[in-house]
């Protein structure tokens, strides 16, 4: 018999809800069958803790006296985008420091604010009758400013490619350090624990879904950039490459450094690890079929990142069980594999979210609108206006 979200929330409130994480559900469904699992289990928690360049924060500083309409803004010497209202900015994770280059940047500003550290705010302006001040230099903390919220234009990628390097030199990429002559393979997905691989057709995850983000609660705001639901799928619904994405929003003031971290990919740039957890309601047997997906049933493609083109050659498909085993065979050679999204952290988040739900601190939400199915990824072509 199918369950409704309202019934599940009633169970959360009266303390009788049964929650498993997306790893535990695999064995449970194996041992008890799909029917019984659908009856017994109410919620499955999924999570991911990976680097996402498409991260940043909106900050609203409050007004100085006399006030200023900030047109250029720096936080600890990292430029923030100020082309919005007088004292609002967006600080992007990948923005580099003007004084420390790749050693410091937007993600580090966000991490410092979340850690409670003071951050130097510097701004210049052209001055108006209502905003006469032309420059300001002061210090802020997360507590001293008004709103501060993380906004991810894209996160929770529904699968991603694995990377290797066929060239004869080491390359430094957003997929990490790739050693020459197929020296290693890196990948970035929580696999069987990943949110959109457990709800591959977005039956329960949509716009407005409440989530765990960075240690606090937040929401799915929109489909993410590069949302590509039309990607080819296996019979179990999982795509074998990048497909759906989510835009996320969450209150920075409720976050903690344990679940959101600045990072530097040597030779590439700065990025931000954002911990995300999404609970999936076990509405019926069909949801159990999706939720019991395991690493060996989820595939991705190995791409050669030494080819500096938009389309990189594929070296074949591989499943996450093989990738997570530490090494695979490719072209007759044993190649070591490593993930730069943290499965240990993802598991920690899934378990924390599980305890929130069990204790009644987190209620499930119906989405207010589903994710769209009619979007695809366009390319950027270099054209004159007449050729458009």
């Amino acid at each position: 018999m199918a369950k409704t979200l309202e019934e599940i929330n009633k169970k959360i409130k009266n303390g009788s809800v049964v929650v498993l994480n997306a790893e535990e559900i695999i064995d449970y469904a194996e041992q008890n069958g799909v029917k019984k699992t659908a009856r017994d289990i109410d919620v499955v928690t999924t999570a991911t803790f990976g680097p996402m360049c498409s991260t940043g924060a909106f900050l609203s500083f409050g007004h100085s006296d006399p006030p200023i309409k900030m047109s250029k803004v720096w936080l600890n010497d990292v430029p923030a985008y100020a082309g919005i209202a007088a004292v609002d900015v967006y600080i992007g994770a990948t923005e580099l420091s003007e004084t420390e280059d790749m050693n410091y940047g937007g993600a580090y500003v966000i991490e410092d604010l979340i850690s409670g550290k003071p951050v130097k705010l510097r701004a210049t302006a052209y001055g108006t009758d209502c905003y006469p001040r032309k420059e300001i230099e002061t210090y802020i903390t997360l507590e001293s400013i008004n709103q501060a919220y993380i906004f991810n234009p894209r996160n929770v990628y529904q699968n991603y490619a694995a990377a290797t390097n066929s060239s004869n030199k080491t390359i430094y990429t957003y997929m990490g350090k790739l050693m020459p002559n197929f020296g290693n393979i890196t990948f970035s997905s929580a696999g069987q624990l990943s949110p959109l691989l457990n709800d591959p057709y977005y039956r329960t995850i949509g716009i407005g879904t409440r989530i765990f983000i960075g240690g606090g609660q937040g929401y799915v705001a929109w489909q993410g950039t590069q949302h590509n639901p039309g990607k080819d799928r296996l019979a179990n619904g999982t795509p074998s490459g990048p497909a759906g994405t989510l835009a996320l929003i969450g209150d920075m003031k409720k976050m903690n450094k344990n679940f959101i971290r600045a990072a530097t990919f040597h030779g590439y740039g700065i990025t931000m690890y954002v911990g995300v957890g999404i609970p999936i309601p076990v509405l019926d047997e069909e949801m159990v079929e999706f939720l019991k997906v395991k690493d060996e049933d989820i595939y991705t493609e190995i791409m050669d990142y030494s080819v500096q083109r938009r389309n990189k050659p594929s070296l074949g498909k591989i499943n996450y069980k093989q990738l997570k085993s530490g090494s695979i065979m490719l072209k007759g050679k044993k190649i070591q594999t490593g993930s730069f999204s943290s499965y240990a952290k993802a598991l920690e988040i899934a378990n924390l979210l599980k305890s929130w739900i069990t204790k009644g601190h987190f209620l499930m939400t119906n989405f207010t609108a589903p994710l769209p199915w009619d979007e695809k990824v366009n390319t950027l072509n270099i054209l004159s206006k007449e050729e458009l």
Binding site: S339, F340, A344
Partner: protein, 135 residues
């Protein structure tokens, strides 16, 4: 027969002098040079895996120290900062001796100092700079 991993530091005045061959000739020791470099301030460093009887190794070390070489145990010189580490495991794909691996049970990073040859490949692959190498 035991194996030890040592870092030999050669000050400028002896950096050009042939010394290590005496370990073989006079002390009957086998060694494998895992890493060697001369730094900008003209001091030399060698990471040596040395095999022989316990006494002979001790005597060999005394000889080297007598020649002005300062010696450290190599295993002390790589540090994985567990406070910073996020247990992603990307370093395990770089580690050629598998001194860095993920624990099969809890997916946390394990570092086996005895397997590490201080190649240093892992150092700049860590996204949160949790691996420090001092050779």
């Amino acid at each position: 027969m035991i194996t030890r991993r040592l870092i030999l530091n050669f000050p400028e005045k002896i950096v050009t002098k042939p010394i290590t061959y005496r370990l073989v000739k006079d002390y009957d020791l086998q060694f494998n040079i895992l890493r060697a470099e001369i730094t900008a301030d003209v001091t030399g460093k060698i990471l040596l895996e040395i095999m022989g009887s316990k006494n002979k190794i001790e005597e060999g070390i005394k000889f080297l120290e007598g020649e002005g070489v300062s010696i450290q145990e190599a295993s002390r010189d790589i540090i994985v900062d567990k406070e910073q580490c996020m247990d992603c495991g990307v370093c395990t794909s770089i580690c050629i001796t598998q001194a860095l691996i993920l624990d099969k049970n809890n997916y946390r990073l394990l570092f086996d100092k005895d397997k590490c040859i201080l190649c240093g490949f892992c150092q700049n692959c860590c996204p949160v700079n949790a691996i420090k190498l001092n050779i």
